[in-house]
């Protein structure tokens, strides 16, 4: 096979891995902090993409506005849902949160299908990022390099905020012992709302980034969430580092499998999940309880 094909597929894998990492990171933040398995993570990805598309088509605001405003829209939508619905699940078993977010996903997706139908809508690459670089061994489209860059910056940024700042200190404390953390004067319920907002805003950001590559459609996040769920299980449900590393590497592995044996590409991530669950049930970066 030519190196063009190999590197081309690895690049696709890296792009997918970037989306996986952003989505899985948001998923892990939400599960760690709230104990909610957010099946609606793919819906916020779709909301992010549609947010960008609507800003462009209804308000004439281009990509650079979209990538800032659309994740915020996704985040605010998420915070409103957390305050009104999701916060009622905290005292119940994880399964109730999963069912609620599953229902939210069906409802929101249904509304979008009703108003926008399922046909994909184009969301153009901004002129500043069209074209690409010829690296000799492969052609690298500028937009794809941008996606990887943004993903890496936000993954690192999220890690930095959680591990190195006072807000992150409060978040970690609230994750570990919420009641005692409240007794130290920290408003944990507000922190949970904020954490949920950040977690879904990361999915929204992935959605806007994906818009120019995959086009925008109400059903765009549906399949992705299954893969992201598998990635988070492999990485370790609450592990920030696990979500990022596993997201990127499984994206690459998926791309590599496409080159070696294409029919297996769609299932390789699930095979890995199966093996990890057998060998290390808490995930590669998870803490055994």
């Amino acid at each position: 096979m030519s190196t063009q094909v190999l590197f081309g597929q690895l690049l696709v894998g890296l792009i997918n891995g970037s989306f996986y990492a952003l989505m899985a990171l948001g998923f892990a933040v939400i599960f760690g902090l709230l104990g909610i398995i957010n099946i609606a993570q793919g819906t916020f990805y779709m909301i992010g993409a549609f947010g960008g598309w609507m800003l462009l088509n209804y308000f004439g605001l281009g990509y650079w506005w979209g990538i800032v405003i659309a994740p915020i829209i996704a985040g605010i939508t998420g915070m409103a849902l957390e305050k009104t619905l999701i916060s009622r699940m905290y005292k119940l078993d994880h399964i109730y949160g999963l069912l609620l977010t599953y229902g939210l996903m069906m409802f929101i997706m249904g509304m979008f299908i009703y108003f926008f139908q399922t046909a994909p809508r184009p969301y153009p690459v901004p002129p500043e990022l069209s074209g690409g670089y010829n690296l000799g061994f492969m052609f690298l489209p500028k937009y794809r390099a941008w996606v990887v860059l943004v993903s890496v910056v936000f993954c690192f940024g999220t890690w930095y905020v959680i591990e190195r700042t006072p807000v992150g200190r409060n978040l970690r404390a609230a994750t570990e012992n919420p009641m005692l953390t409240r007794a130290f004067g920290i408003n944990v319920p507000a922190l949970l709302t904020f954490g949920f907002g950040v977690g879904v805003a990361l999915a929204g950001l992935a959605g806007v980034l994906a818009g120019p590559i995959t086009s925008v459609s109400p059903i765009m996040g549906g399949d992705l969430v299954i893969v992201v769920f598998a990635i988070v299980v492999v990485g370790g449900m609450q592990s920030i580092l696990g979500a990022v590393v596993t997201g990127l590497s499984l994206g690459l592995l998926e791309g590599l499998t496409k080159v070696l044996y294409a029919p297996a590409a769609n299932m390789v991530i699930f095979v890995i999940m199966f093996i990890v669950l057998l060998v290390k049930p808490a995930g590669l970066f998870g803490q055994e309880k």
């Binding site: 970690r172 404390a173 570990e176 009641m179 005692l180 953390t181 007794a183 130290f184 408003n187």
Partner: protein
């Protein structure tokens, strides 16, 4: 900041369906050290957790300097200037020693600086980058107490601060509590170590099966020694 006083009357508290406190009434005047003694399971820890707002199902009244906080969430109560040192110490594994110290939100600027806390407990400074739960039991207790000295709180709820500690560490903890007292702070102490508590306590409440059954002021401790021993089942 004026020292806080605490007045509890007819406090009932429940864990799920089990009724733990059956009408607790006690007073902690501003600037005094009050100790609750009693056997295991009498409801001492539940009393402290109720004051802190950490027990959801509770009725009666809890007045902190005249403000009834029976319906307030823990973060509101903490921000009035109430600090809690739990029996299990509550050191965070995901935070290092310095982060554990910095976690409780300051209520004003009258608290100790990190440097002063390290001076009081030099062990902590040597281990400031260690994960909180990697410390020894004694160091964890120093951290649990040091942590609340920074906030500027003036009502301290201390749950068995000397439990399971070596005598030399008990001395250090005792020094910290005496320091709080000398600064005029109000302290509600739960303590099994009666000899330790008696040295600093202004009044003892005796608790049994979720009720206060007796109050012994400092002046009567010696006279009623045998009765106290009976209460504690020694």
């Amino acid at each position: 900041m004026a020292e806080l006083s605490l007045a509890i009357s007819d406090l009932h508290a429940y864990y799920g369906d089990s009724h733990i406190l059956h009408g607790v009434t006690l007073d902690v005047p501003a600037g005094e050290v009050v100790t609750i003694v009693g056997r295991n399971g009498a409801g001492k820890t539940t009393t402290l957790r109720s004051i802190m707002g950490m027990i959801e199902k509770r009725t009666g009244s809890i007045n902190i300097s005249g403000r009834n906080v029976i319906a307030s969430p823990p973060e509101k109560i903490a921000r009035l200037g109430v600090a809690y040192v739990p029996e299990e110490r509550g050191i965070y594994a995901t935070l290092d020693v310095t982060e554990n110290l910095l976690l409780p939100r300051k209520v004003n600027d009258s608290g100790m600086s990190i440097e002063d806390i390290y001076k009081l407990f030099p062990n902590l400074e040597m281990r400031k980058k260690s994960q909180g739960t990697k410390l020894s039991g004694g160091e964890q207790q120093m951290l649990a107490i040091g942590r609340v000295l920074r906030t500027g709180a003036s009502l301290f709820l201390l749950d068995e601060p000397t439990e399971g500690l070596a005598p030399v560490i008990v001395q250090q903890i005792g020094k910290a509590i005496e320091l709080m007292k000398s600064q005029g702070h109000t302290i509600l102490l739960v303590e099994q170590n009666f000899r330790f508590a008696a040295k600093i306590t202004d009044r003892h409440y005796v608790m049994e099966r979720g009720r206060i059954i007796d109050m012994i002021p400092r002046a009567e401790v010696e006279k009623r020694a045998s009765q106290i021993q009976q209460y504690l089942g020694i």
